[in-house]
Subunit: 225 residues, 2 copies
């Protein structure tokens, strides 16, 4: 049985546009699935069969060139919607970066449900427009920024909040993961991190931890360096 009222992402996921009753009707067509770290929910170029909401964990949207170089398009956190509704071919892979829990539907079921629920489609439209804005922003980063700017921008993007003071947090992925997002190599990312550390702008407690000491300077590096 489903219990959307208890869902931890009820207020973030697209379901918030539906009444609890309608949400549970939708949920009746889907199921929850646990994903282990590294599991692939959808392969690029496969038929697009599934769509869904992320409940826990972090997923990665990515694609690879024929030579095997990978590019990450974005990360999906709890509350995010993943998959490609209204299209038969997946344009990217969806992989779990951490153990994750998703609430998934057959694409065809979701499509017809959405066609009957205007508010849901509208919510999806708003999200897709926001995703597009965000993707374009990162396009600029890939095409026009140098490594130091990319890394600084990435850290600022990952940092929670907007506060002035020092902020500490955990990165959602390894150095390789950062490299795939920024279109760099693992070594270049590492070097940029040590430069920032030597300059006293950040500290790096543990492999995934980051402490932003001087946010203003970090923003200046992101602007031009």
């Amino acid at each position: 049985m489903v219990d959307c009222a208890q869902c931890p992402v009820r207020e973030q996921a697209i379901c918030r546009s539906l009444s609890l009753e309608e949400t549970e009707r939708l949920a009746g067509q889907g199921r929850k699935q646990r994903l282990e770290r590294g599991a692939v929910l959808q392969w690029e170029d496969e038929e697009s069969l599934l769509v869904g909401n992320v409940i826990e964990g972090v997923l990665k949207l990515s694609s690879s060139t024929s030579e095997g170089r990978e590019q990450t398009f974005g990360l999906a956190r709890p509350g995010a919607f993943v998959g490609r509704p209204f299209g038969r071919r997946a344009t990217h892979s969806v992989t779990a970066l951490s153990d994750a829990l998703v609430c998934i539907f057959r694409r065809s079921d979701f499509d017809s449900f959405a066609r009957g629920h205007t508010e849901l489609e509208h919510e999806l439209l708003e999200r897709t427009l926001a995703d597009l804005d965000h993707t374009r922003k990162w396009m600029m980063l890939l095409g026009r920024m140098k490594a130091s700017q990319k890394v600084a921008t990435f850290l600022l993007e990952m940092a929670p909040g907007e506060e002035e003071g020092a902020v500490q947090f955990e990165l959602p992925c390894s150095r390789q993961g950062i490299a795939d997002i920024l279109g760099l190599t693992i070594e270049t990312v590492s070097r940029q991190m040590t430069e920032l550390r030597n300059a006293g702008i950040i500290e790096t407690p543990g492999h995934r931890g980051v402490l932003i000491v001087d946010r203003d300077t970090l923003e200046a590096v992101a602007e031009a360096d």
Copy 2:
């Protein structure tokens, strides 16, 4: 008075999802506007006031870094929808690459019209999803391909049709324009074009003309070079 029945993009623009009657009701809230080559319909970071359809010409969606390096996100051809509905801030500029004709609406008018017309919102959703797919494809190109692959991919993308034989066409933009799209410099684009010409893969009649002589080899270059 409006006459959407005669509109040359009636069957391509989002309006195709509306009855002719509804289309003209929408048109009553908008107007046609001519844009001269180089005119800017919308500046990045300005308040998002306008949305609309491209009727004639080619527009460019782009943004610039603080240092003035420009990145193009995409081109809008006749039938395309431009602008950012349901959001108050424009994330990119919209510039006419050629003389153009657009059919525009105040964003607020369009938003409320769309909220009342499910089929229009659905059409917009499908387009936005397709735009997102396309943008991600180009993200990969920016992040992971080398100059020769970028240029080859660009030419293939611009070429009409999928035929085997030689195809001739005009590029929609100058070398600088290509550079802005591919995240390269004008010189690098030029050098790659001459390499392709010397290899007998393409010919370049006039500044904007391209003749693809050997499409297979060009595709091979795009895959890996």
